[in-house]
């Protein structure tokens, strides 16, 4: 009993000591990565099939497997850090993680804070509705007439907020922002919302998981190219990552991954 409490106390002291040490800034993140032999990558493992935690508790998904290959080709170990989606950009910005892969779409506001790699995939937005949905959506803006659900902090959230709410097309009270996208799906099922605005790939995944949903509209709104988020102004690292992405694209590696994860 004594030993256990001593061990716990030590553990706690070590943890708090670690918290107290901030990570020092290096000149180029690429140098730092190669010196350490490890790249620390942040993700928010709640967005299947891009990234999720599988039944045995391991990270899995399109982004995860892609990043594993990129790290292999950089000849460094890969270390994952899972954090809420909202905090990934801040973490890259403050140098707490080396880069982040989490189905990031390019946006101007994000580009002010961090850099983006070349796109490794292109996605579309989708409007997911219940099968008995009777409304008509011909233009993207028509969705403003319905009760919408989004995952908080995504580009879809951004699009609805700026293009629909700020533009005066809909009331903010008709938008529900969810912590996770499957919570939105449950509310779609319960009929509290009418449309989920999401990336089309996870939207299709939800369709498969829940059943009784359909996609009524697909287009690039704010989405489009998906990129890896890199620290601002580190061109060495950016070039290295871009060249590997180019390699993987020409070898057909990424297409194979897309087939594995995105087609049923």
């Amino acid at each position: 009993m004594k030993k256990v409490s001593v061990a716990l106390m030590l553990m706690f002291l070590v943890a708090s000591a670690l918290v107290a040490c901030a990570s020092p800034e290096a000149d180029s993140v690429l140098d730092k990565i190669q010196e350490a032999g490890t790249v620390v990558v942040g993700t928010s493992a709640d967005y299947p099939p891009y990234e999720y935690v599988d039944e045995s508790g391991n990270f899995a998904g399109f982004d995860i497997e892609l990043m594993t290959e990129i790290a292999k080709r950089m000849d460094v170990e890969l270390e994952w850090t899972d954090m809420p989606f909202d905090s990934l950009i801040a973490a890259v910005q403050e140098g707490k993680i080396d880069m982040s892969i989490s189905c990031f779409n390019y946006s101007e506001e994000r580009d002010e804070k961090v850099d983006f790699s070349d796109a490794y995939y292109t996605s579309e937005d989708a409007f997911l509705v219940a099968e008995d949905f009777a409304g008509t959506i011909t233009n993207a803006e028509d969705v403003a007439n319905f009760k919408i659900g989004v995952q908080s902090g995504t580009v879809q959230d951004e699009w609805v907020t700026t293009e629909l709410i700020d533009a005066g097309l809909m009331e903010e009270s008709n938008l529900s922002r969810y912590e996770r996208v499957d919570q939105a799906a449950m509310d779609l099922q319960a009929g509290r919302i009418e449309v989920i605005v999401a990336d089309s790939v996870p939207a299709q995944a939800l369709m498969g998981q829940f059943g009784g949903f359909k996609i009524v509209f697909e287009d690039m709104l704010y989405t489009g190219p998906i990129n890896i988020v890199l620290p601002e102004g580190d061109s060495e690292l950016q070039e290295r990552v871009n060249s590997i992405i180019a390699e993987l694209q020409s070898e057909g590696f990424i297409d194979d991954l897309a087939v594995k994860y995105f087609s049923d």
Binding site: S87, A90, K113, E179, D187
Partner: protein
């Protein structure tokens, strides 16, 4: 620091709206919890066997499970039984039902402290059982319960902070919004932490004041000396 102040200024209106929602949730949860809690307390002390058993089970179950689970059960669970409540209504209901269990225990303690003598005295002058409870016991018990009860509003205010998880736009949801817009989660949550602190302090001061008010000489109950 100046970044942080900018954030606070930029989202100040937003935080105020969120704080308003939080206070509303607290107030409605408190009132619902009080009415239901009073019923439960009376049921446990004076009810017949099934009523007493029900009250006890209710109190134990609601105090023995996390509020968040109760919230999800109401919000996501009930629709599969055909009951679909709105986000705000679900939040009110979860907070009210949860608080009722705690408030029932405060009230029950006070009722027990009044003791059987008051019941006997009431019955002796020809009042019915429920008349005695209504006119003799409750007026004393409610006053007696004030000191221990006055923890509940603050506990409830703090526990409302989970409702953002069912997309209710309370103060915590506003913090999330600020976090995703500014990419500064720590600063955003610190900002609302300050707002919560201010609300808790203000509420605390208000309750202290009310408690003093309730202690006006002449309104003091003999039963106050009872072991609470």
């Amino acid at each position: 620091m100046s970044d942080w102040l900018n954030l606070l200024i930029r989202f100040f209106d937003d935080f105020l709206v969120g704080a308003g929602v939080t206070l509303e949730l607290t107030a409605i949860g408190l009132v619902m919890g009080f009415l239901l809690g009073l019923g439960l307390a009376l049921g446990k002390v004076y009810g017949n066997k099934p009523l007493c058993w029900f009250s006890t089970a209710y109190i134990e179950l609601f105090r023995g499970t996390p509020l968040l689970v109760q919230l999800f059960l109401i919000y996501y669970g009930l629709p599969s039984l055909g009951i679909t409540l709105s986000q705000t209504l679900s939040a009110y209901l979860a907070l009210g039902l949860n608080s009722a269990a705690y408030q029932a225990e405060y009230l029950r303690g006070a009722i027990l402290a009044i003791g059987n003598t008051q019941m006997t005295a009431g019955r002796a002058i020809g009042l019915s059982r429920w008349q005695t409870i209504l006119h003799i016991i409750l007026p004393q018990a409610l006053r007696l319960a004030i000191p221990s009860w006055s923890n509940e509003p603050i506990l409830l205010l703090k526990s409302t902070a989970v409702v953002f998880l069912i997309a209710v736009q309370d103060l915590m949801a506003k913090a999330k919004r600020a976090a995703t817009t500014t990419y500064n989660p720590i600063g955003s949550y610190l900002a609302v932490a300050v707002v919560y602190l201010v609300m808790v302090f203000a509420l605390n001061a208000l309750l202290k004041w009310l408690e003093r008010k309730a202690r006006i000489p002449g309104f003091e109950m003999e039963g106050k000396k009872g072991s609470l």
